[in-house]
Symmetry: C2
Subunit: 224 residues, 2 copies
DNA sequence: CCAATTTTGTTCTCACGTTCACAAACTCCT
DNA sequence: AGGAGTTTGTGAACGTGAGAACAAAATTGG
């Protein structure tokens, strides 16, 4: 129903609305919100139109009302239990990330295969053996899993997650995951992002081969 | 010249080719590589055609040769110096990330505003005060900066980076950055990814309002 | 050397996403 | 009440990307 590109922007609007509300702003125009969210105002209005008609012509949008409507549409008015698998460098950072909790996601378990980690407390949650996955998923009705293991283990972890009933996976490991129909996978890959930046950087430098050129002769624009 | 969507996939092909090479495979068809990269083979061939004609009809692609060509096109045959600003939970994880080094990115400095962190060694690199940014950028010809500070500090850090000559920024803070023309910004936002998953999860559950429904009545497909 | 087979590179078509432009709908002021 | 001024919601034009289909080019076998 709602285009995928729009779905990906709704959380950005939500964040911008929260920032406006924190500043005591109660009403905003599509222009205001678009600027806060870093998008074109026409695109913003079209995106919002997929949710319904929550604005008032000549006036704009009620910040709190729109915020609630978007939150409801995304599904963050309810609490989502989440498990994190792989409590290494990245897993620790994720477990300590406060942005989880504040946006409706609750870390119900931290799992790892390394016996040395089991029993340690990270961010107030005890690390459990990976084999506890089944019980945790069943007990807490977990639908979302986060993979922060090395790449070689990622597919295996994903398979086990799917077998236990998890239907949404956020994957930080640099590996292509194969999952059955009906399971959503999103990947976050730092090194891909850096490589994309490097590509554009190389172009800016005029395709010079040696060293990182400092002079950025902006051939091709592309500010985000 | 090369479509943005293609640029974003080239690093994935590169990773897949490396995996094939590690398995001793010296030649592969577009079908093989596409499958390893998780894309359609027609799309793969079209993507590669933007780089040139590096395959042989009736045979396929030489793994090492193609790998070099893609690496050169992206720009990862050279070394890219990178600075990381904000050495908190996430900054620590990034500093310890081995995938940086192995893909041509070299962390030349870790910067933070917190005096308590200055002087500490993280992943073999000493944390320096943020004010050292100018000297570091000048000394190492740094073009790429990573922001891992809290959101409220992100725009300020970005401004200072741009003023020092950095032209590519990878931003982990949940904030919209405004930068001049010619500067590229890419953002990685964990909570946005989770919210997108939550949206689809809610749809799978039939839009039920209470709790996280376990029964995933796959109404709308969407496996990645 | 030539035909059969394989696999690339490319063309064509369709779907999706973005942006412009404007009528509809609301407020405010006189 | 009515007109002027705003701002939304959306139809239409445009651009980009995905995928099917096929001709061109290489190998292999006779
Ligand atoms: N550190 C970063 O900043 C960073 C950035 C981007 C991507 N990544 C990726 O994220 C992943 C984790 O990175 P990291 O630096 O935390 O690595 P890490 O080695 O520090 O941690 C990996 C953890 O996964 C555990 N593990 C291994 N196999 C497992 C299994 N089968 N089941 C459960 N747990 C298992 C290990 O015991 C370890 O604790 C890697 O794939 C890495 O490429 C990391
Ligand atoms: N921890 C995670 O897993 C995670 C995940 C996604 C996004 N993020 C985002 O990444 C950012 C960092 O997260 P974190 O958990 O590491 O936070 P943190 O609070 O642990 O670390 C932030 C660091 O930035 C430093 N800092 C603050 N202002 C600065 C400035 N002006 N200049 C230089 N350094 C400054 C602080 O001293 C601190 O060391 C946040 O914006 C967070 O929302 C974190």
């Amino acid at each position: 129903m709602i285009p995928e590109a729009t779905v990906a922007r709704l959380p950005v609007y939500l964040r911008a609305l929260t920032a406006l509300a924190d500043n005591g702003i109660r009403t905003c125009s599509s222009e205001d919100l678009a600027s806060a969210a870093g998008v074109n105002s026409a695109k913003l209005r079209k995106d919002l139109s997929y949710l319904g008609s929550y604005g008032t012509r000549g006036v704009g949008y009620d910040v709190d009302y729109l915020r609630y409507q978007i939150a409801r549409e995304i599904g963050v008015t309810q609490d989502w239990p989440v498990v994190i698998v792989g409590i290494g460098n990245l897993g620790h950072a994720l477990a300590n990330y406060s942005g989880f909790r504040s946006r409706g996601f609750r870390v119900v378990a931290l799992l790892d295969a390394d016996p040395a980690l089991i029993g340690q407390t990270v961010a107030g949650v005890e690390v459990q053996p990976f084999d506890d996955l089944e019980e945790i998923v069943r007990t807490h009705d977990v639908a979302i899993g986060v993979i922060a293991t090395p790449a070689f283990a990622a597919q295996d972890v994903a398979d086990r997650m799917v077998a236990m009933g998890i239907t949404s996976i956020l994957n930080f490991a640099p590996a292509v995951l194969t999952v059955p129909e009906g399971v959503d996978v999103r990947k976050v890959d730092l090194s891909i992002e850096l490589q994309i930046l490097a590509y554009h950087e190389q172009r800016k430098a005029g395709g010079a081969t040696q060293g990182a050129a400092a002079a950025a002769a902006a051939t091709d624009g592309g500010a985000a």
